[in-house]
């Protein structure tokens, strides 16, 4: 399946694939005649999809939540606006786990259920599952997602596409419906590394509307993709290959990492002993921040509901109890608990301190290596419904992506092989803070040296 470069190619592929994969919550009206003619950029008319939790003036911005079902944003997210200014066209809003909370896009608050284009009985990953499925099936050239604890990288890995989470602060968060504000970043999904680099270069950079966006110089990511990686030291952290990883995934990822030696890199084993602690740190912090961020949804300003409640407090409880889905309510409860008087030091406070230690551990590792390579997920795409009854199992699916989120590092997933069941496996490449150029150099060198990049899913019968 060809990667679409025009709106018509995109719409054709959507017509063919969408009934099988359900990547979209909705398609936006695209006026092909009305495309801005004054934009002469390379991206003129490129069809893209945008995750439902990123503000767009076309279509709805509802984070796949009943509480925001009919919300239309009067503005575009900064990251998207920069791409629009370069000429891209939004063809639709993609499905996700409600407010980004999940690893399978099964926690969607609004229908339909996204499926993996490689095997429609399996999940596309999450939370940016719709965005990954849309790129994998060739429905769009590129998709925007958000990554709080792996929500771009893990679905990219499951769907066999490239997924990039930049350094925290690299891309403006203005217009992203917040989950965990100290962790959230907008990310890109494409089929090729160089395309992701190109998109990120446009999106990145300081924004007056996000005080946490960094003034750090934006690198030349496209040129970085052409750079030789001979002599670069690649660290392979042994904790990511310990218990819990599927043996087949382990072999595929190890083989991929050692293949970097063929292009001149030096692979060495390293140790990041705090890796097992990252899940607890991540979830305590993310849920605490979520409980605070989601307090703003009171069912009054974006959409008013008719209820027979007598007073304002009862109205809030009713609207929120009905409007939020199971996992979002669990997050709010867990986060409120972790922040509540008597427990805050023990849970949120402790997690924030261990977060410092995890960040330091990575900073020290980057003293001796130029990049780190490891798996994105302990397994390939799992069957629909296989984890949805067990929240802890779903959280543990994020074990290899949350450490970089906690540390604020740039990390990306690159397709690195297929299992015996023909499911894609992703290789995760991590660089130190604001060193996206190095991450792209390694990813691109890897991509150029192998053949996975030419594999695309076949249409289900």
């Amino acid at each position: 399946m060809k990667t679409p470069r025009t709106i018509q190619e995109s719409l054709d592929n959507i017509q063919t694939w969408e009934p099988h994969v359900n990547a979209f919550l909705e398609l936006c009206e695209v006026d092909q005649e009305g495309l801005p003619a004054d934009v002469a950029g390379l991206l003129q008319g490129l069809p893209i999809a945008v995750k439902a939790n990123i503000a767009t003036t076309s279509g709805h911005t509802n984070a796949s939540s009943k509480i925001l079902k009919n919300f239309k944003s009067p503005f575009n997210a900064t990251a998207l606006q920069r791409l629009l200014d370069a000429g891209v066209v939004v063809v639709g809003k993609t499905q996700e786990d409600e407010f980004g909370m999940g690893a399978s896009s099964e926690n969607n608050g609004l229908p339909p259920q996204t499926k993996n284009p490689w095997d429609v009985s399996r999940v596309a990953g999450g939370s940016s599952g719709g965005s990954a499925a849309a790129v994998a099936s060739g429905e769009v050239f590129m998709a925007l997602g958000t990554d709080t604890g792996g929500s771009v990288r893990q679905p990219a890995s499951f769907c066999g596409v490239v997924g990039v989470k930049p350094t925290y602060g690299r891309v403006s968060r203005h217009g992203l419906l917040a989950y965990g504000s100290s962790l959230d970043q907008a990310g890109v999904l494409t089929r090729r590394v160089a395309d992701a680099a190109h998109m990120l270069e446009i999106m990145a950079g300081q924004d007056v509307l996000d005080a946490t966006s960094s003034p750090e110089r934006v690198g030349n990511y496209v040129d970085a993709c052409k750079k030789d990686i001979a002599g670069l030291k690649i660290g392979m952290p042994k904790e990511f290959f310990a218990e819990g990883i599927d043996p087949e995934v382990k072999t595929i990822v190890q083989t991929a990492i050692y293949s970097l030696e063929n292009v001149g890199a030096i692979v060495q084993e390293i140790s990041l002993p705090l890796t097992p602690a990252a899940i607890a740190v991540y979830y305590l912090i993310a849920k605490a921040e979520a409980s605070s961020n989601l307090a703003r949804f009171d069912g009054l300003r974006y959409e008013t509901s008719d209820t027979d409640t007598q007073n304002l407090i009862e109205y809030y409880k009713h609207v929120r109890g009905f409007g939020f889905g199971e996992e979002v309510k669990r997050a709010i409860l867990m986060g409120t608990y972790a922040l509540s008087s008597g427990y805050v030091d023990e849970w949120y406070g402790k997690a924030s301190k261990v977060r410092t230690l995890i960040r330091k551990e990575y900073e020290e590792a980057f003293q001796s290596v130029d990049a780190i390579a490891c798996p994105v997920s302990p397994e390939a795409a799992f069957p629909l419904g296989s984890k949805s009854a067990d929240p802890l199992a779903m959280y543990l699916a994020d074990a290899y992506t949350v450490p970089m989120s906690v540390a604020g590092l740039p990390a990306m997933s690159v397709p690195c092989g297929m299992t015996k069941n023909s499911l894609p496996v992703g290789l995760q490449i991590i660089a130190s803070h604001f060193k996206e150029e190095r991450m792209f150099s390694v990813a691109s060198a890897y991509e150029n040296a192998q053949t996975w990049k030419d594999l695309t899913p076949t249409l289900p019968k």
Partner: protein, 100 residues
């Protein structure tokens, strides 16, 4: 570890209506998750400063200039909202008994 009563109390703080079935379910699975997370308690964090500013930036300021309608006009923003005389209409904050 987290009783049904505690879940009810937290839900009340978080302004969430839960059914009895939900309360029981959350009591069980949040307890299970937190039990798994206990492992971080054994890590030594004496004299470790908590990481709170993830970007590492400090004192981000801007010119004190009013910028109009960055997110849209008030009309656009209140389009889905019940309003009266420019105010958002809400349910009564106090019940009659409390007013008296």
């Amino acid at each position: 570890m987290i009783s049904k009563e505690e879940v009810k109390k937290i839900a009340d703080l978080a302004r969430l209506h839960l059914s009895d079935k939900e309360t029981t379910g959350y009591s069980l699975d949040i307890s299970g998750v937190l039990e798994n997370f206990e492992t971080i308690r054994s890590l030594d964090t004496t004299s470790v400063v908590a990481l709170e500013a993830a970007s590492g930036l400090q004192n981000v300021t801007r010119e004190d200039v009013v910028r109009e309608n960055i997110l849209g006009t008030p009309e656009e923003l209140l389009k889905k909202t019940k309003t009266k005389d420019g105010y958002v209409v809400v349910k009564a904050v106090f019940t009659e008994a409390e007013v008296l």
